[in-house]
Subunit: 377 residues, 2 copies
């Protein structure tokens, strides 16, 4: 018997234990057929059923109507930073909002493939950035001047590194400007109205499944704008026409995602239920941080703190040379708490509370936080 | 206990049984650490070791010197059909040889991203095609007029659909034209001198591991030619600089590939050994086909028959309406022989004899061929 591990990794991250158990049990003998799901043709009946069920379960989970295509792609959200403008600009410009490291990256990649690289008036436009606040708050809506003729408005609704979240339910899109959202690190954490969006995308390795799969949900009427010379594997319209199988898709990752969708639907009771637990988990951890008398600090404004990714530091006045941080990580690991190191670009600590992380596990983390402060604070 | 399955799928295909067993045993508890290899950061120490060992084992297997970078990418060989010209043309033209469906696709995708789309003199050049023979032979070297100033010469050394193979050891590149080869369906099936090549690439889902991983081995001095506006995830130079981790790589697929490399090195005794078995397997199946009195037919010229992919048909004079073909597939499945259906573009039958398929399994297939002919021939 192994010691129980408490995994707060930002991604690739903890998968639901029940899902890993199923995958393990049938890894060499899928549905009693004597082979692994990894070992069969993506065009055969067996994998066809896996793909169809995965897509249908996802439709049920998010309430995705037939107005939308579901694409299972590769290359991560980062590849989408380029693939989205290539497919969605259609000769126009687009508006970008920067609320953290990931939306900043998406803006920089989009500029590279813009039609108007040397024309500041028409290129990819930055309409708001919260960099001045060190990405600790959201932009004031009143300050944003959107282009009513933009091909789309892009934002990242959950910044994995900076821990800033935009509730998708609070967004009101302009009538003719499709909203595009990078939801990599909080998709499936709560219900939201997908009909408000033109395109939603997410790397799988947080709330969906293993790394190597990218989910794109796109309104069908927005397809077909890519240049004729777009590589096949990058053209959403061609990908949609071929059910994401222009070439071999990442079959095992799709199978795993399907198990996660099934678990969310049938074990967790859907997104309404899981979102309540997610709120409890986040509330508990933020309370512990806020009640630590500034020993632990999360600097994000309370109304936009992420429920999924909680970056925090040990007060620099206490931990002048960073020794306590190292001690924290070492003690955490000794106590089987892993994945708590902050992103290399910002340092500090980070706990990611994805769907697979239980309330009990967050309680163990909070106890550890208190105990560590008692010993070294 | 399950019935033993005989899996001749063209890809995703059979993995070594020993590898699937290891993956299964440690799926929820990797190296006794209490988590799955899928659930941890790609930037942490544990996955770092998996990646480093995978690369080193691959270097040992193929004798890859430090002149080459090993990249673990996504998107399959099909994505490379575009990514290669984007990275390797450097403002020039390139020569393409077509010997089957895959090299034809690579040629068509390359033309789209060529610098000289409307200039037949300078665009991507087709220097040889065996389409007139229905892809049953290789082009005559004497007929090929290569461009000595081409950015590269591209070929597919094993055509998975048409079953035509070029022995990489027989190729002699022009002094200043790097040779680029799609080796998706026969890499690791035999030793070859990689120093002859500028770039070798392969989708993983045949001889390497699960689908969702693409291997690119590229000479370091050829890096850095991509346009500045190339998407980050497509720029070999940036990918090399970041050890294939500009963003999250397909960690589980890389782990599986690592297990396969280790199995080839330490269980199979390297590529020299496995190539002998591969030759025995292919010889046996071709003999059975050729000795069937034209009941089974493989039309590929003997000197370029693939050792990995054996497409064949049941003689049309015997099977006028294709009923025997359907009966063959049904009887095969009843006998636990799976993955024998030919590619949809050519129909018929196909047996793929990748490294994980044993000589014993090929014998069972040959017995089945004979038995089926006895009953219905």
């Amino acid at each position: 018997m192994t010691n129980k591990i408490y995994n707060f990794s930002a991604g690739p991250s903890k998968l639901p234990e029940a899902v890993v158990e199923i995958a393990k049990n049938e890894l060499s003998n899928w549905h009693g057929k004597g082979f692994s799901i990894m070992e069969i043709s993506h065009r055969g009946k067996d994998f066809g059923e896996v793909l169809a069920k995965s897509k249908q379960d996802l439709r049920n989970l998010l309430g995705i109507s037939d107005n939308f295509e579901i694409l299972f792609l590769q290359g991560g959200a980062t590849q989408q930073f380029s693939q989205i403008p290539i497919n969605m600009l259609g000769g126009r410009s687009a508006d970008y909002v920067i609320t953290g490291a990931w939306s900043e990256k998406s803006f920089n990649e989009a500029k590279k493939v813009s039609y108007y690289k040397n024309d500041p008036e028409h290129q990819i436009r930055l309409v708001a950035s919260t960099q001045n606040s060190n990405f600790t708050k959201l932009p004031e809506i009143s300050e944003i001047k959107l282009n009513p003729y933009a091909a789309y408005l892009h934002l990242c609704t959950n910044e994995t590194i900076h821990g800033v979240e935009i509730d998708p339910n609070r967004l009101t899109p302009l009538p003719n400007v499709p909203l595009i959202a990078d939801m990599s690190s909080h998709i499936l954490s709560r219900p939201f109205d997908i009909e408000k969006f033109g395109l939603v995308y997410a790397g799988a390795q947080k709330n969906i499944g293993p790394a190597g799969l990218t989910l794109v949900i796109v309104r069908k009427d927005l397809l077909g704008l890519a240049d004729l010379n777009t590589p096949k594997t990058w053209d959403y319209a061609q990908l949609a026409e071929n059910d994401s199988m222009i070439n071999t898709p990442p079959t095992f990752a799709i199978y795993m995602a399907g198990l996660v969708f099934d678990w969310l639907l049938n074990t967790c009771g859907g997104l309404e239920n899981i979102s309540k637990i997610n709120k409890q988990k986040a509330d508990l951890l933020y309370q512990n941080i806020d009640n630590s008398g500034d020993f632990y600090i999360n600097s994000v404004q309370k109304d936009c703190r992420s429920q999924m990714n909680v970056p925090f530091i040990i007060n620099k006045n206490v931990d002048k040379n960073g020794e306590l941080l190292q001690k924290f990580l070492a003690e955490a690991e000794q106590n089987n708490l892993v994945g708590l190191k902050g992103h290399k670009s910002v340092g500090g600590l980070r706990a990611s509370l994805y769907n697979a992380v239980t309330l009990e596990e967050v309680k163990v983390l909070c106890d550890f936080l208190q105990e560590f402060q008692r010993k070294f604070g």
